[in-house]
């Protein structure tokens, strides 16, 4: 343990500087397949008749010195997750590894020495402090319980902690009710930091506080992280707060992680439709953006019950892109882009993972009415290609992601993607469409793709699919060439600059703007 402490300290300066790109850091906590089910019992015999699947198979890791944000709606299991990884509750299944040691099944006694390293900050600053204890005894409790005698005595150390979190040492003998909400939250933080933990799990640390106080606490947590080299797991429902504090963010929906990515990727190009909807719903303090209602995706209804979560992808009942495969097959959390893991068959801003499946579910058709489709004209980077009409345009967008797909070594989609824009420009015959598609697949080859053998057949299929669905419409299109232009532009940009998220976004915009116009006609 002393060894790890040394490395921990050594890592501090590095942590302070590198807030992003933390990929190479040592993993502090690893969670694999974690589940937590709460049994529902009925009858005299208290037989189990079901379970609330609060956390249902999640994997992630927390690296030293980083802040992992966990967001989701109420009832998605984020708090339960926090309590299980700190072992305040026992997991039903899965594995939790802390500093390389499996702590999943440790007994209370075995767990106690570890409590020093894993601490928790609770949401409710009123409920988490014993009203009958003074601040001094609350903050010194960790020392008492762990039998630690800090240098210079407990009282001195507690007073130091109090001043560290911005309270005055004279508060030592006061009671919790004498403090305001923000001050109480600081007391909670002081207690959590008493034993110099390595990992702090903060469950909604600021949501009970006023805006101006929120900022104070957020800044305090920031400062402490820099000073003490802490690692945070911050659970919150406020996406703006999470974005502000986190290096990486996990988005949860009904007990599952649907997307896990670093902050920039997640907020600039969310891949999971749920992430996108969640972010578009956050109100922005800028009245000029009002009226651009089209940017917002309204989800219909509520989160389904975790007692009987929907089959397949859990989000399919509210997703505007859901197809049959979403209902039947559960998508795995896979790394589609470096550092961005997504569990979705039809991700946004990326190549479709199940392009053969194009028929929308009924629920999705309804939901897609709530998704803005005319955003293209707005020139915003986030495009929502009319899922309403047909899913093909959605794939067309992915034309722009040729190089990306190539990078992700899934060439079949890349090859398939350019079909639509070219198809809409030339429009006459299947054969021609498939030719261009073949061309396109060659282009992808040049942008260093390794596997090309499957492509030809895939392309032909895709071309056919696109033709049957799209050609009649496209034939009538006057402005179709723009789509082609856009597609070309994308290709060239892909060649010139090579894989890169920024250019992709631009290309994205151009591509979808073109297709948008053509499909709208």
């Amino acid at each position: 343990m002393s060894e790890t402490k040394k490395t921990d300290e050594a890592a501090i300066p590095q942590q302070a500087s590198a807030s992003e790109g933390s990929a190479d850091r040592e993993v502090l906590l690893r969670v694999e397949g974690l589940t937590k089910h709460f049994p529902i019992k009925k009858g005299i015999l208290q037989r189990q008749v079901g379970a609330v699947k609060a956390v249902d198979g999640i994997d992630f890791e927390v690296r030293k010195g980083e802040t992992l944000g966990v967001v989701g709606e109420s009832g998605c299991g984020k708090s339960t997750m926090g309590r299980v990884i700190t072992r305040l509750q026992d997991p039903t299944g899965g594995k939790i590894t802390f500093e390389g040691r499996d702590i999943t099944r440790l007994k209370t006694g075995q767990m106690r020495p570890l409590r020093r390293d894993i601490q928790m900050i609770f949401q409710d600053p009123y409920g988490s402090l014993n009203p009958r204890h003074t601040i001094g005894s609350i903050v010194s409790a960790p020392f008492r319980l762990q039998g630690v005698e800090p240098e210079g005595g407990v009282k001195k150390e507690v007073q130091r902690l109090l001043s560290l979190v911005g309270l005055s040492p004279e508060h030592y003998n006061r009671y919790p009710h004498e403090f305001s909400g923000g001050q109480r939250q600081r007391i909670g933080i002081a207690r959590a930091l008493a034993l110099k933990p390595k990992l702090v799990v903060a469950d909604e640390p600021v949501s009970a506080l006023d805006v101006s106080i929120q900022a104070q606490v957020v800044n305090l947590m920031d400062d402490l992280q820099e000073e003490l080299g802490l690692t945070y797991v911050i659970i919150a429902h406020d996406l703006s707060v999470v974005r502000h504090v986190s290096d990486r963010i996990a988005v949860m929906y009904l007990g599952k992680i649907v997307e896990l990515a670093d902050r920039t990727s997640l907020y600039e190009s969310p891949m999971h439709p749920y992430t996108k909807a969640l972010m578009s719903a956050v109100p922005v303090p800028d009245p000029k953006r009002r009226g651009q209602k089209s940017e917002r995706i309204l989800l219909r209804g509520d989160v389904p019950s975790p007692i009987a979560p929907p089959s397949g992808c859990r989000f399919h009942t509210r997703c505007w892109k859901a197809t049959e495969i979403c209902r039947t097959t559960e998508p795995q959390l896979v790394e589609l882009r470096p550092g961005q893991r997504v569990a979705c068959h039809h991700p946004e801003n990326f190549a479709d993972q199940a392009p053969q499946d194009t028929v929308l579910l009924t629920a999705a058709k309804e939901a897609s009415e709530l998704v803005p489709d005319a955003v293209a004209s707005g020139g915003s980077a986030e495009k929502e290609p009319a899922a309403k009409e047909a899913p093909e345009p959605a794939e067309a967008v992915e034309a722009s992601e040729v190089k990306e797909a190539a990078e992700a070594s899934e060439p079949e989609k890349a090859a398939e993607a350019p079909v639509e824009p070219t198809g809409s420009s030339k429009t006459e015959e299947v054969s021609e469409a498939s030719e261009t598609a073949a061309d396109a697949s060659e282009t992808t080859e040049t942008t260093d793709v390794t596997e090309t053998t499957e492509e030809a057949s895939e392309t032909a299929e895709a071309a056919e699919a696109a033709e049957t669905a799209e050609a009649p419409e496209a034939a009538e299109t006057a402005e179709a060439p723009e789509g082609a232009e856009a597609a070309e532009a994308v290709e060239t940009s892909g060649k010139k600059t090579g894989p890169g998220a920024k250019t992709t976004n631009e290309a994205d915009t151009a591509g979808s703007a073109g297709t948008q116009e053509s499909t709208d006609k």
Binding site: E73, S74, S180, G182, Q183, D210, V211, S212, I213, Q214, A215, Q216, V218, N219, D222, H237, D238, L239, S240, V241, R243, H244, V245, R263, Y267, A277, L278, M279, S280, A281, V282, P283, V284, P285, D286, P287, K288, R289, R290, K293, R296, L298, L299, G301, D302
Partner: protein, 363 residues
């Protein structure tokens, strides 16, 4: 007892000289609560007006008096024994009627019909023992002499209108059977069942998830468009304000510190407290700056409101105006530009300079 306004004008006979043109006008409203610890000045001289079809957002931290203001307009402080513990003065004019001096019965006739309220927590605002539909029916039948059947049909219609699926079935559900968002929708249905002209929403989305919040805000906006009612939205979330409000009123320590059209207030905020609120908010639409700019200290006690400008102990610019003026003289609202008022001792030039040079770049 209640400290009545000096005019003593009864409902229905507004003094011609005094009757305002605006649909709702609040003049120098004061709501004080005597307690064992001292007099709590929850609202201390607040004035504003609101036209039909407009939305006013009242923003402030907890304890700034925003909820008390709304309850005063609704006349809720005068109910039962609570009326004995409050001192109200000033004037509230709703559609030509003065409410502060009006008899409780007169106000009751207006409550629900002309003005209605959506509360923050629908679970505690609804009676757990009665079916949701029955509660809406009751609200309707208080003001309309109709049979239960007609009222029930109206309740179903309203539930449908606010987007509750299967309203004919849900009308017989109990509040606990509804999810948070649905409960809030039912609350809105209940508030709107009599087509009120003034709708007061007290933190209607604070307890809800963002996705549901977006649904509810949309709903309120659509309904307002449809019914043309005036809406007062009480919130602490500037994002919600920007989303929905035409005008903004920022409250601090029971008084208005800044008031104006939403665009103006967000674009050229004049009061240091408004700057503080804007700086404290992490924003999803901008590049993350390294740190938030919090307001130091905590909100004042309403028993001992700081002398002079109530914000001076927390204001980083309190020492700029000469003399001790910020500590001794209470600033009055001054017109900054058309419809934009601010109560601050800083000179217009200083404010302009601080905003453009120090605050705006950091946001």
């Amino acid at each position: 007892m209640t400290e009545l306004s000096k005019t003593g004008a009864a409902v229905g006979e507004p003094t011609p000289a005094k009757a305002p043109e605006a649909f709702l006008e609040v003049r120098d409203l004061k709501v004080h609560f005597p307690t064992d610890d001292g007099l709590v000045k929850s609202v201390d001289g607040l004035s504003f007006s609101l036209e039909k079809g407009r939305t006013l957002a009242i923003v402030g931290e907890s304890g700034s008096g925003k909820s008390v203001t709304s309850q005063a307009i609704m006349g809720l402080h005068r109910l039962g024994t609570r009326g004995k513990n409050v001192r109200m003065s000033g004037e509230i004019w709703l559609d030509g009627k003065e409410l502060v001096s009006a008899a409780p019965d007169e106000v009751r006739k207006l409550r629900g019909r002309e003005m209605a309220m959506i509360f923050q927590d629908p679970l505690s605002a609804m009676h757990p023992y009665y079916k949701v539909g029955d509660q809406i029916v009751e609200a309707y039948r208080v003001h309309h002499k109709v049979s239960k059947k007609v009222a029930r049909a109206r309740a179903i219609e309203m539930l449908d209108r606010v987007g509750i699926p299967e309203p004919a079935k849900r009308v017989d559900g109990y509040p606990h059977e509804f999810s948070g968002g649905m409960r809030q929708r039912a609350m809105i249905a209940m508030a709107l069942v009599n087509n009120p002209e003034l709708l007061i929403a007290d933190e209607p989305t604070t307890a809800l998830d963002v996705t549901v919040q977006a649904q509810i805000l949309d709903l309120i906006r659509d309904l307002q468009k449809e019914f043309g009612s005036a809406v007062i939205m009480i919130t602490h979330d500037l994002g919600v304000v920007a989303e929905i409000a035409d005008d903004v009123l920022v409250m601090y320590g029971g008084r208005c510190v800044e008031r104006g059209p939403a665009d103006e207030v967000f674009d050229k905020p004049q009061h240091p407290y408004t700057w503080g609120l804007l700086g404290s908010m992490p924003r999803i639409d901008r590049e993350t700056s390294e740190r938030l700019i919090p307001v130091k200290g905590s909100p004042p006690s309403l028993i001992n409101v700081p002398s002079g400008c109530a914000f001076h102990p927390r204001c980083p610019y309190a020492d700029i105006p000469k003399g001790n003026v910020t500590r001794t003289v209470r600033p009055e609202l001054e017109l900054v530009s058309t419809g934009h008022w601010s109560a601050c001792h800083l000179s217009a030039e200083d404010r302009q300079r601080i905003w453009t040079e120090e605050i705006a770049p950091k946001l």
